[in-house]
Amino acid sequence: MVSQYQVIGNSAPRVEGIDKVTGKALYTADFSPPGTIWGKALHSPYAHARILSIDTTAAKALPGVHAVITGRDVAGGMYGRAIKDIPVLALDRVRFFGERIAAVAADDEDIAQRALDLIEIEYEELPAVFDPLEALEPSAPVLHDGASAYQGMKLPEGAPPNAYSVIKVDRGDIEAGFAEADVIVENTYHLPRVHQVYLEPQSVLIWLDGERVQVWTCSKAPYNTREALATAAQIPEESVVFNPTLIGGDFGGKATPSDLPICYFLARASGRPVRMILDYTEELMAANPRHEVVVQLKSGVKHDGTLTARQVRFLVNSGAYAGYKPAGIIRGSNQAAGPYKIANTRLEGINVYTNTVPGGHMRAPGEPQAFFAVECHTDEVAKAIGMDPLQFRLLTLVEEGEETAFGEVLQDVLAKQTLMAAAEAAGYYSPKAPNVGRGIGIGDRPPGGGQGTADVTLRPDGTVLLTTGVFEQGSGTYTTFRQVISEELQIDPERVEIEVQNTDYVKMDSGLGGSRGTRIYTTAAYDAAQAAKTELIGLASRQLEWPEDKIAYAGDEVRRTDTGESVRWADLLARSGDTVSGRGHIQDSARPHFTSFTAQIAEVSVDPETGEVKLLSFTTAHDVGKIINPISHQGQINGGVMQGIGYALMEELRVEDGRVTTLSLGDYKVPTIRDIPPMKTVLVQSESGVGPYQIKGIGETPIGPVAPAIANAVADAIGVRVRDLPVTAEKVFQALKEAKA
């Protein structure tokens, strides 16, 4: 197929790539207005305690200390992204190990740390609850007595203690569905907390510069984070400016307001610009990890493979607060029945407070948890009726026009095609050596929505300026902008300059996240380019006295369609010294009527003597729209799969008595390149998509089905199932031992 595009669809190098690899790129830690000092927070050593007294006298007396603040100095400030339930600094009570209690601003980080060590606090320990199931018991300690008063909180009526969100969906007749079944399969799956492990830790610099609060921070949603900061600090949002900076990795975690309000109050108390950078111990202890989830699944199935009923209980351990989640809760429960046709379904999704580190967002929040549960369960159901897992899926996956488990009807459904593409590429039915297994995982998600703006300016020197409010976290949006402008204005990409504006640029911009980047910003940039062309034609008409409807834009020129006369637009602009601009703005949060399927197949070998799982190969198939930048698209796939492999086999924030114990990257391990097996990617071209180029998202889809594919492969290889991640050698070894006994 010959592409109608010149630039779109061809791999393009990163706009900011050379600056990054040569060290010129600027991150939050690189900004240092004169007089900048260091801030550091004191973290609670208890999971649940009353604060009886705080004595900061010795800390304040330490030379080099400029400010020491406690909960009394933050004016009762509360923060959060949707639900404002996090005190800037704990006032009289701490609810998790690592919660921020006091903070110091000092000449350097070491002095700040020494000052923190001098703060004396008296605590009275309170009964704590860590397990999400136990937190729902009537006898459980209640974390938030006044939860209903929190801004943004909508407490469900009659909910159990600590449950601050309960979603219930009933479709069909669940009891009748189970009665109809030949076999009922019931399993519980447990998903641990994991950290995003971005290279750049959470960083912020705040400078009170006259009337303005100048902020540098690694937030990919600066407008949302600005709102959270302004609310916590009780200052007008317009007084706060977030300045552009690159972001050193995100994976969902880089829009948390975490230390921003503290940094603001330190800057106010010290009268100096204050920088706070978490160290990795603080990151692992008290940032905003992926949530622990317990998923209970019960399915009724007939011997012929018909699913008659499925009941889902999706229990999200929110940790001590809800504030790090953009919507207060995470999704996933709606995905936990899978993309299967089932007439009768029941869902109960609960978000519950416990005395543990609050969860935030990580790549496809909620979905890897849901996909792990439902895809492992699917294999277990298939096994219960003696059916091959691939055949069972092909029998039960939704097709065009059919309702998904929770009643959504999608268009252009490529579930089976994507799965078959993966199966063929992986050689799913080819012979296997002993102790080798293959496993399937499948899932789907559409690109998210939001709002965004772009401006395009054509300049007399023939260059084009693209203005944006996006703070890039590494996913390639600036490069996408350049490709769109280059395509639509028919000019060399080198002539497109990207300018990033601070948050005074527009009223609101959603920023990156939810696989919305390409959807929102290709549309904004495309519309801006068209608007700029219209402006240019208007200018040409005025200057040249050509009829407007006889002027066409043609690359470097404007051309008169009736006479064939043409003028270089750069000359036209140079003549008057003008520029012409166009703006594109999109606000589109609707969930599209299409989705994007990811089907993955892992091949593993298991050492029966040790339980060690070796990943031999991994195949990932994606139903895709138009791909704007193939090399970036593949990068998202590779990175998502790698992160999924970590989730499957090694990553876990271990928590003992509420305290995270994996406090270094020596203990909390992520995959290295030596752990990655040969990978095969298959792209299944879809006819649907969104925006001017009919795209689908890719940022989040690749991570979800990885873990169940691997766990299913382990079960296929050696006949035992591990239902809680990560699938460690020891768990497989234990399961083998139990199977033998």
């Binding site: 040790t610 270094s664 391990k669 020891e730």
Partner: protein, 286 residues
């Protein structure tokens, strides 16, 4: 990190004087890969750090009649890549290639690593099975201690106050010596071992002439598994004998529960990997 004084003596004599002067408040630093991390995490504080980087004669590798002499300040990477080591004791170079990453190996020193006495480190597996000794020097003279006897407890050695580890001596490796190092890394390739086993052996006519076995990450110190050796030396090798000998390590291991596995799992794995290492060095074609 707490403030400290940093000293850079230029002779052993000056080093000893500084040690005498500052006693318990002083700690020697070589590559710093372990010490600096511990200081940053406030796991360890020192008033005085005595850097050995300017003390002459502590670095480099010499091949002599009594074996390889490896200076304490020799970097891991230098040892690993050394043609002298690769020809005289290739097993040693192989084991060093398993330590951490190239970046760490470029900085960490042979003597620093041994003195640090982390039971998870790989090199003792080679030094113990190659019967290496360390030279400990003090004002009052010097002594040689087998690496098998160097470690006394978790992060502790028999090095006395005022003593300095200056070199490691690896005796000549007999021709035909078979070696194996099995590092069990079930989480990621970039990790400390869940358990690791080193073994060297000489065989003649199916009979074990000599056997040395060492276990890493299986106890508070690197272990010399003489219980295994005693069962097999002088005997003909059979699969049953190997299995039985490997099971003997259960009595000597004392692994810690950590993120690389529970104590009981590591105990089971110590047996499995000892058996596999024995199969490698004692059985043809294994």
């Amino acid at each position: 990190m707490q403030p400290f004084s940093f000293h850079r003596p230029t002779s052993l004599d000056e080093t000893f004087s500084l040690l005498e002067q500052h006693g318990d408040e002083a700690r020697m630093i070589a590559g710093g890969t372990a010490l600096v991390v511990m200081m940053k995490q406030s796991l360890f504080t020192a008033e005085h750090l005595i850097s050995l980087d300017r003390v002459p004669g502590l670095s480099g590798i010499r091949g002599e009649a009594d074996g390889l002499h490896i200076g304490a300040l020799t970097r891991h990477r230098e040892l690993e890549m050394s043609p002298v080591v690769r020809s005289a004791a290739p097993f040693l170079a192989e084991v060093y290639s398993h330590v951490a990453t190239v970046r760490i190996r470029n900085q960490a020193t042979v003597g620093g690593g041994l003195a640090h006495a982390d039971p998870n480190q790989d090199p003792p597996a080679a030094f113990i099975t190659l019967e290496a000794r360390v030279k400990l020097v003090s004002r009052n003279g010097e002594r040689l201690v087998p690496v098998a006897e160097l470690f006394s407890d978790y992060y502790e050695t028999v090095i006395q106050p005022g003593e300095l580890l200056t070199e490691v001596i690896v005796p000549p490796v007999a021709p035909g010596t078979r070696t194996a190092y099995l590092k069990f890394l079930p989480r990621t390739e970039d990790d400390y071992a869940t358990v690791a086993v080193g073994a060297t052996a000489q065989m003649q006519g199916g009979v074990v002439q000599k056997l040395k076995v060492a276990l890493i990450a299986a106890a508070p110190t690197a272990l010399s598994a003489t219980v295994v050796e005693d069962q097999l030396v002088g005997k003909s090798v059979t699969p049953a004998a190997i299995r039985q000998a490997a099971e003997a390590v259960e009595a000597i291991v004392d692994p810690l529960d950590d993120f690389r596995g529970s104590s009981s799992y590591k105990r089971d794995m110590a047996v499995v990997f000892t058996r596999r290492a024995l199969e490698r060095v004692l059985q043809d074609g294994a």
